[in-house]
């Protein structure tokens, strides 16, 4: 550890990094789930629009 840093600064940084890393992993999982939901919603919107088109055609 550099002389400019206080003693045990590495452990302190590691503890806060663990917290941030956990948050980032959590956010990444949330982002994946959210994008999956949005994709599904888009598909449903397209399906509904196609249905509406069919009904108007008949």
């Amino acid at each position: 550890m550099s002389d400019n840093l206080p003693d045990n600064a590495g452990y302190v940084a590691a503890a806060y990094l663990v917290f941030v890393a956990l948050l980032l992993v959590y956010f990444a999982i949330l982002a994946i789930r959210s994008s999956r939901l949005e994709r599904e919603l888009r598909e449903l919107n397209e399906l509904a629009a196609a249905r509406q088109g069919e009904e108007q055609g008949t």
Partner: protein, 249 residues
């Protein structure tokens, strides 16, 4: 038919912003305002992330137990979902508390873990206890039975948390400090400010993530119901899952 793909409300956005501000303020106070502790030196700064994580974890487990009581009283599956989400999330916070605690132990005492210390061991027991919650749920196929057994587990384990906390308080501490006591703790004022801000920030983080999880689960359930309605399929027969089945709108 709605065309918007926005899945989260503005209240949740505001809560997220408030969480980010309070947590940033707490960690800034911890880094630059709170003094360096005389005995432990700089490593004591871990306290401002570790202790709030541990407190919010235990609070989340108790909240899960309260929701489970509500489920058993009313039979409303929404309470089961709340209990499940709170426990699931507390378990993640618990991992954070254990990891940061271990780093603090190494920095302050020279050991990653001290088996003679009641505070550490009891917290590990709580973690291991709740680590069996998901497998318990997964092992029961019938959703109603699953919810009922999980609620009983959540209540018993939730009651164990404060009892365990009190027992540890009564035991003689070996090396782990007692921060909160009946006289308001041994912290000086400037440390207290950073510490309480961190507790508020961590609580807000828990609430925000809890709300995000709940909103996500409801959105997924609503989408499934909508898909069934549009495609004309019958009710979905889902495979075995540890998560409660959420009813669509």
């Amino acid at each position: 038919m709605p065309t918007s793909t926005k899945l989260y409300g503005t209240r949740l956005t505001a809560l997220g912003i408030a969480t980010a501000i309070v947590l940033t303020a707490a960690f800034t106070l911890a880094a630059f305002y709170a003094p360096i502790e005389a005995d432990q030196g700089f490593s004591q700064k871990i306290f401002y992330v570790h202790v709030p994580l541990a407190i919010v974890t235990l609070g989340g487990f108790v909240f899960g137990g309260i929701c489970a009581i509500q489920y058993l009283r009313s039979g409303d599956p929404r309470h089961d979902l709340r209990s499940y989400t709170a426990i699931h999330q507390s378990l993640i916070f618990c991992v954070g508390a254990l990891l940061t605690g271990s780093l603090w132990a190494k920095a302050a005492w020279g050991h990653w873990w001290v088996w003679d210390e009641p505070t550490l061991v009891s917290f590990l027991i709580v973690f291991l206890l709740y680590a069996t919650y998901q497998p318990l749920r997964f092992s029961i196929e019938d959703p109603e039975k699953q919810s009922r057994y999980a609620a009983v587990f959540a209540i018993v384990a939730g009651a164990f948390v404060p009892l365990n906390f009190m027992a540890v308080r009564l035991a003689d501490p070996l090396i782990h400090p007692r921060v909160l006591n009946t006289s308001g703790g041994d912290l000086p004022g400037d440390m207290k400010l950073a510490f309480y801000t961190a507790i508020v920030g961590m609580t807000l983080l828990f609430i925000t993530l809890y709300k995000v999880e709940m909103t996500g689960k409801h959105n997924r359930a609503q989408l499934k119901a909508l898909r069934r309605k549009l495609t004309g399929d019958g009710p979905a027969i889902g495979g075995r899952s540890a998560a409660p089945r959420v009813q669509g709108s």
